[in-house]
Every structure is written in structure tokens, then in C-alpha cells.
Amino acid sequence: MRTLAVALDLLREAASRRWFLALGIGITLLLACFGLALRIEVVDGALAATRLFGKVLDTDIRSVDVAMRYVYRAVAYVIAYGGLLFGIVACADFAPSLLSPGRIEHLLALPVRRWELLAGTFLGVLVLALLGAVYGAGGLTLILSVKTGYWTARPILAALLASVTFAAIYGAMLASALLARSAAISAAVGVALFVSGIVAGNRETLAPLLEPGLRRALFEGATLLLPRVSTMADTAADLAASVPVDGLALGSRLAGLAVFALSALAFAIWRFEQRDF
């Protein structure tokens, strides 16, 4: 299927971009450094002592899996928020680059449907984001699991959750690139959606702060349509920390994010189909 071919080409292009490679190497070095510098004493399944770069860390003595939950919670937040922001900035250029003069005419003259080009770009970026998130989360989880003897895949689940959130944001970025072919504008749309998504995740708390009436109605209406970025980050952290999560609510949120992404993609395809290049 040509959508997959377009996606694979995007991944090849990303791999050929030196700074992606540099980032991958950087993350690997950080993980290796962290792994070598961290010493954890586990006595009968309890986290007895922790040393980082030779310095003893003030940690409570408790079951190692319980102690690790706080670490994994922090990791999940870093991946969710930090990973999202990084993904927005790093991937902002792919769609504008696709539409650049000389490239888009060539691609459109090939036997590839317009929607396949967009869908392939979208898919390629998602896979890239997923690989990055899983690599970071997986690497850290592996190090901590080896050190503590407590093996869990939950932080990787959290990374998957963050990737679904990124899908929603990138869908909007892709659509914006069709309206204005600019990596800067695409990134700005992504950041704006990221911030407003944090607000949307707290809409039930924030709405009562507004006076009842038009303002509150507008706020509730606008945030109803936005992806709940902060809610998903909290859920990712809860998952990583082995806190029970309402499965139905989570499923609904995930489905909502996925459908939001599809909606943005459909809008982008509509715009793409009628546009001249």
C-alpha cells in the first residue's frame, strides 16, 4: 500500500537527518550514564538504599515496587509532557517539507492518491514519535528493572498513551501546514493545542471560576472539542505508578483522541484535495 511506502520514506528521511541520530545517541548516552551511576540496594524486596553518582539519596525504605512507582510516575510525566513538546518541535517540519515546491508536484504526478500522501506522512510521524517514546521509556525501565529486580512494562504503556495524545496534536499540525506551509506555524499550532489541551484537561475545575453565562458557556464549548492533554498525562502517570485506572473512562479518552486525530486528518485531506500546487 502506498501509504506505507510514504510512511517508510518519511522514516528514512528522519534517519538521514543528522540531528535525529544525534538525539538518539544522546538519549542512549544519558541512559547509559544513568545506568552506570545508579546503585540500588534491595534487601528482601525492600528498597534499602539508593546512590546516584556516589551520593546517597534520601529515600524511604519500602517495598521496591512501591518505591519505584514514584520514579515511574515522574518518568511518565517527563515522557508525556517533555516528549510531547519535543515531538511537536522535532516533527513540525515534515508536513511543510512534503509540500515544498519541486517535491509536491513530483509526488502528485506519481500514482499516489493525495490522501495517501497525507496519511502516509501522518503515519510516519506517529511511528517516529512512538519509537522515540518507547525507546526512552523502555531504556529507563530496563535500567531500573535490572537494578531493582522489579520488572514492569507499565512505563512503556504510559509512553504509548503519550503517543496517542501526540497523534491528536500532530493531526492538527498537519492540517495547519495545509493552510500555511510553515514549520514555525505548524509548531506554534502544536504548542497552542498542547497548552489548551492542558486547560481542557482541567475544564471541570476551571469552569466554575468563570461567571455563569456566555463566558463559561464559550469556555466549556471550546474545551469540549480539545484533546485532554493533562488528563492523559495524569492517566499515563497513574498507569506507570500502578494506580488503578478506570478502564472505561480511559478507553473513551483514547478513542476520543484517536477520533480527534482522524478528524484533523480528514480536514487536512479535504484541504489538500482541492488545493493547487
Binding site: 534487601v43 528482601d44 524486596g45 525492600a46 528498597l47 534499602a48 538504599a49 534520601d58 524511604d60 525504605i61 519500602r62 517495598s63 521496591v64 512501591v66 518505591a67 490522501w115 475544564r203 471541570e204 469540549l224 472539542l225 484533546p227 485532554r228 488528563t231 494506580v243 488503578p244 478506570d246 473512562a249 480511559l250 478507553g251 473513551s252 479518552r253 478513542a255 476520543g256 483522541l257 477520533v259 480527534f260 482522524l262 478528524s263 484533523a264 480528514a266 480536514f267 485531506i269 479535504w270 484535495e273 482541492q274
Partner: protein, 348 residues
């Protein structure tokens, strides 16, 4: 037309997405641990303690400033270094799950009869009138509202004698038991009459002031006090697979205890000892024991206990450590044994 179809799809999908996300916007439900409150110093406790400082003792000759009001219960309880001093906030515990369980125990047929007798004979409703119960060394003090109580029936069996300006002592002839009624607010129990008399002397200011058995800053929680090391060692020796009892005896000087009973029982114990390293090692051993208990609970399928043991932790600080431990009511009921209500029903 096909192009418009994409726009239509985008709008419809956005609507569906909004609906799905709204469905997922359930308020954050209470987690299993929301009802666990580990006792920590709170201003509410400070205010409660301040309200209780109603006893104004005559100033000592060497005192320079005005007399500071004292808590009469703390004055009555003797200071027994190395011993156990503990206070139960009965009024707070009465409505707690553990309190209800203990009430159910008290409402067993025999116990219910005894409580009814106490009310009939002395005008004291044990479940309503008692506010605090303190124990230190040989003396147990029950503080409450006994203004309506009558002690005539007590005098029929026990030999009364007045003591001090407000107290009456009752001694049981065949047993080493002394009961003292102090004013309308305190009843003291003990085996040693001299200790009971000393408590009354302290209340009336006849003895020089002594440091309270429990300092003000340590009076928080529904149960609080200091546990004697020997008492704890005895408790630990029951199921001691790790030699903890011996380590305790050798390393620990004092264990300060605080308990919250508002829902599942939450315990905080501060452990101090002269040898920082020994105390540190004890903390690690305890941490390991808790971890094993948690694994055992998980293996036995006791999810609630395992869940609460998630919260168990040892926090080492400068050669001492504090232990946080939460115990589910089901576990406590099992340990304390079932109780029957007066009407024959099982305990809650």
C-alpha cells in the same frame, strides 16, 4: 462531492471525538487510599490541646512568670521514663470503624449488662461520657463528663476515704485495686494506692511540677504516646521470623506512637536509639519485613492488606526512623476476633 465528503467526515468525527472525550471526563474517583490519614502534627490538634489546658496550679516559689494552665490528664499521668504512656481519644475513636468494632465488643451480652449496670449504678454512660483514657505506668486515668455520676453504689463494696480537696479514694479490700474519683471529670484506677494519691497530689499542686509524660508537640492523633521497648519486643516475639525482637531490644531507646482511626487504622511510629547505625540497620530490616508481609498478602490473595502495605514505609532521618503503616479494618477484625452485639447480631 468527494472533496466535500472529507470536510463532512472531519466535522462528524470532531463531534464524535468531543463526545468520547466528554465521556472520559469523569471526575477523578477516590482512590483506595483516600481514606488513609497518617497522623501528623496538625493545627487542629494544637487547638484541641490548648482547649484542654484548664488546670491552673499554684506557681512554684522559683517561678517568675504567671502560672501556665496545664492539661489535667497530663498532670495526672505519671512520667515513667522507659515505660509505656498512652492516651486514647475516646470521643474521636467512638465513631471510627475500629471504635465501632470495639463498641460492638462491649455490647456483647455480658459486657452490655455491665455497661447497663454502670449506668444504673453510677449514672455513667461509658460510651457517651468518656472523652479520653490515659495510661502510664501503674495509673490509668479516665477523663470525661462525670458531673451527673453518683458513686454511692461504689461505696457499698469499696471502702471510701476522702483525699485532698476534691478526690475520694475507693479501695477494694481483697484486691490491690484503688479507684479515685476526682471532681466531676476524672476517675483514676491503679493497683498502687500511693501512685493514685501522688496523681491527685499533682492535680492539686501539692507536688512540684514535673515534665509531662507526653510533651505538647507529641499530642496528635486519635491515639498517641510512648511505648516501652519491652512491650514492643513482647509483641514482636509472637511472629518473629527475622530476629527483629532482639534487634529492637538492643537498638531502640524509645518508640513514639501515633494512630489515626478515622477510617482504616493508620499508624506512625518514630523510633529512636542511641546507636545511629544500629537504628539504621533496624530500619532496613523492618522495611524488608514489611516488604515480605506485602508479598505474603499478595500471595494469599488479601488484596486490601497488600494494598495498604503499599503505603507502609520506613523513613530514615539522622539516625532515627519513622514507620508508616496502615491496617485494613478486615485485618484488624480478624486479629481482634469477632464480637456479638447485645441483640445477637455479628459485629460490623
Amino acid at each position: 462531492m468527494r472533496r466535500v465528503g472529507w470536510l463532512l467526515a472531519a466535522v462528524i468525527l470532531l463531534g464524535v471525538a468531543a463526545w468520547l472525550m466528554a465521556r472520559g471526563d469523569r471526575g477523578k474517583g477516590k482512590t483506595a487510599h483516600d481514606n488513609i490519614h497518617f497522623p501528623r502534627p496538625r493545627s487542629r490538634d494544637d487547638q484541641r490541646n490548648a482547649r484542654r489546658r484548664t488546670l491552673v496550679l499554684p506557681p512554684s516559689p522559683s517561678a517568675t512568670g504567671p502560672a501556665v494552665p496545664q492539661d489535667p490528664l497530663m498532670v495526672a499521668l505519671p512520667n515513667t521514663p522507659g515505660g509505656t504512656t498512652i492516651v486514647f481519644e475516646a470521643s474521636a475513636m467512638r465513631d471510627s470503624p475500629i471504635g465501632q468494632h470495639m463498641v460492638d465488643c462491649l455490647l456483647g451480652e455480658r459486657e452490655a449488662r455491665e455497661l447497663a449496670d454502670a449506668k444504673r449504678d453510677f449514672g455513667v454512660d461509658v460510651l457517651e461520657d468518656v472523652q479520653r483514657v490515659g495510661h502510664s505506668g501503674p495509673v490509668t486515668v479516665v477523663e470525661g463528663d462525670f458531673s451527673e455520676a453518683t458513686w454511692g453504689r461504689l461505696a457499698e463494696r469499696w471502702t471510701p476515704r476522702p483525699y485532698g480537696s476534691s478526690a475520694t479514694l475507693y479501695a477494694e479490700p481483697d484486691r490491690d485495686q484503688t479507684i479515685a474519683v476526682y471532681g466531676g471529670q476524672m476517675v483514676l484506677f491503679g493497683e498502687d494506692a500511693a501512685e493514685i494519691e501522688a496523681a491527685i497530689d499533682r492535680l492539686e499542686g501539692h507536688l512540684p511540677p514535673a515534665p509531662p509524660a507526653i510533651p505538647d508537640w507529641a499530642m496528635y492523633g486519635d491515639v498517641y504516646g510512648v511505648i516501652a521497648v519491652d512491650t514492643l519486643v513482647e509483641f514482636l516475639q509472637k511472629d518473629d521470623d527475622h530476629g527483629l525482637a532482639d534487634t529492637f531490644r538492643n537498638a531502640v531507646e524509645q518508640v513514639e506512637l501515633h494512630v489515626d482511626t478515622s477510617d482504616d487504622v493508620a499508624i506512625v511510629a518514630d523510633v529512636v536509639g542511641p546507636d545511629k547505625e544500629a537504628v539504621g540497620d533496624l530500619g532496613k530490616s523492618l522495611g524488608a519485613a514489611l516488604s515480605i508481609a506485602r508479598m505474603r498478602a499478595q500471595a494469599d490473595g488479601d488484596e486490601r492488606l497488600a494494598d495498604l502495605l503499599d503505603l507502609a514505609r520506613i523513613s530514615p532521618r539522622d539516625g532515627r526512623f519513622s514507620l508508616d503503616l496502615a491496617l485494613p479494618m478486615d485485618f484488624l477484625r480478624k486479629e481482634l476476633g469477632p464480637c456479638k452485639r447485645k441483640d445477637g447480631g455479628r459485629a460490623r
